[in-house]
């Protein structure tokens, strides 16, 4: 078969793919490019400068928002990963029916519902029970919607794992805890790591819930950036965005390298 008549070859598909990848990275490139713009107007280029990075790093409110985001994300990640790990330990050994099937659906529920609906629901609940601590509200809500993101990689990792190793450890008189810590945990570690990374990024990234629950002292980074954007685009915003892009790329690459290593080891 030559290319002209080969049905597997679709003319134009390659071009579409090429344009697709350019289009995928163009917006990110534009943001990074204009972050070095000396001009106060984003889209009017007037020379190279790194002054907006200096301005961003000296912005007290920005750093405070980053701190809130980071604290919430770390606590929510630890909470969500522990909850997901416990649930995955049970669900990967249990039959897929009855209460266990229901539990699996419950763990994944935040993925099924539109985030704005859940955000409104927790807002009403917190106002009804009189919970006013902004940070606590954020941590509780973030832990909940991060749980399925931590759960899925752990669950997938456990699915391919045989229980024989753990049983062998038990036969050698290891206590359940020792068997878990010395045998099971090292085997599922890549899944746990990938899940925790995902949960952390999802929490750091969240806008809808954090915006609705926003109160003084608990403004997260995306909510703060949203406020800045509303006041107008500036190269400082581009500098902040560029720093966030770099952070995301580092985390994403670490998570992907980790999970691909986990897959090749089997």
């Amino acid at each position: 078969m030559n290319r002209a008549t080969d049905v597997r070859h679709y003319p134009g598909a390659r071009l579409v793919t090429l344009i697709f990848f350019i289009w995928l990275y163009l917006p990110i490139g534009v943001v990074v490019w204009y972050s070095f713009n000396e001009n106060r107007l984003v889209s009017v280029w007037s020379g190279f400068s790194t002054k907006w990075y200096a301005a961003a790093l000296e912005n007290k409110a920005l750093l405070a928002a980053l701190e809130v985001s980071f604290i919430v994300a770390v606590i929510a990640t630890i909470g969500a990963t522990l909850i997901a790990l416990c649930a995955a330990m049970v669900l990967s050994r249990a039959p897929r029916r009855g209460i266990f099937q229901l539990s699996e659906a419950v763990v994944n529920m935040p993925l099924m519902l539109p985030e704005i609906v859940v955000a409104v629901a927790v807002l009403i609940l917190f106002s009804q029970i009189g919970l006013t601590n902004g940070m606590l509200k954020l941590i509780l809500a973030h832990t909940a919607f991060c749980t399925p993101f931590a759960f899925l990689p752990i669950r997938a990792r456990m699915q391919g794992m045989t229980l024989e190793m753990e049983e062998a450890a038990r036969d050698l008189f290891a206590s359940p805890w020792v068997a878990f810590r010395r045998v099971t945990l090292p085997m599922i570690a890549p899944g746990v790591f990938a899940g925790a990374m995902l949960a952390f990024v999802i929490s750091m990234d969240d806008f809808i819930t954090s915006n609705l629950l926003n109160s003084g002292g608990s403004t997260t980074l995306p909510v703060y950036i949203f406020g800045l954007i509303k006041r107008g685009t500036t190269p400082e915003l581009n500098a902040i965005s560029t720093l966030m892009i770099i952070a995301s790329l580092i985390i994403a690459t670490a998570a992907l390298v980790m999970s691909s290593r986990a897959m090749t080891r089997d």
Binding site: V7, A13, S43, C86, P114, V117, V120, F207, A252
Partner: protein
Amino acid sequence: MTVLRSFRFWGLVPAWAIMLFTLIIPVGIVIGVSFAERGAYGGFEWSANIDSYRELLFSLGWTDELEFTPKYLIIIGRTLALGLATTAICMILALPVAYIIAQSPGRWKPLLIYLVTLPFWVSMIVRVYAWLIILGNNGLAEKLWRFVGGGEIDTFLFTPGAMLAGMVYSYIPLMVLPVFAAIEKLDPALLEASHDLYGNRWVTLRKIILPLTWPGLAAGAILVFVPAIGTVLEPMLLGGGKLMMMGTLIQSQFGGARNWPFGAAIALVLMAIVVVLLMLNARRASRKEALL
């Protein structure tokens, strides 16, 4: 073994606790609030009326008579239309891209898939902000428009098209990945068989590729459509806040306008749309299993 056996129960307790507390009970309360009365100073007062649902379709006229007002139906319609358009564009884009990635040499595949997912890790607000710059004053879109000799335009921003551009960009990886997974499972022998039977590309696409990758397309459609109809950032930033979608309408009822029962009612309408979709999808999936 008793420790392990009791763990079968205790291991699930934290998950149930957090989901009951932050999801199941709150959604139950939302259902209650949607039938409540609007409080005098924001908030709500418990009661049992359907005013909030009536407000979706009717408003009170001068003499307290009900007048049909399509104001909110238009917002719901716009939300569904933009959600469907986003899903359709993502499908059309994802098919050739996933097809080319699936056909590329083995060692290229992980890299290409990595490149597809990478922008998805970049913060949502940064990605929407990027489109604000591209479509904004003197931005790349305007420069390109003038370059190709397009006529005078005011601005690309604050239009449904701007929202659509942002939404497609935000959710496209969620379509490419399942479609890629489906195309990769496609047996190339089937394509050759189609060719041997004098099928041309169009027939092969319609009779072989599309039916066999349909599960991937359907999965991608759900993954894109559900977050797309609940989206908030695109209408607020690229739509300028004037062109509301359901997400922004719900949010505004808990902010400035402060009609909690009405906000709860719209949230439930949004949730109902999603639940119906997920149930249809589950039925489709189980029917397929029954066939196999």
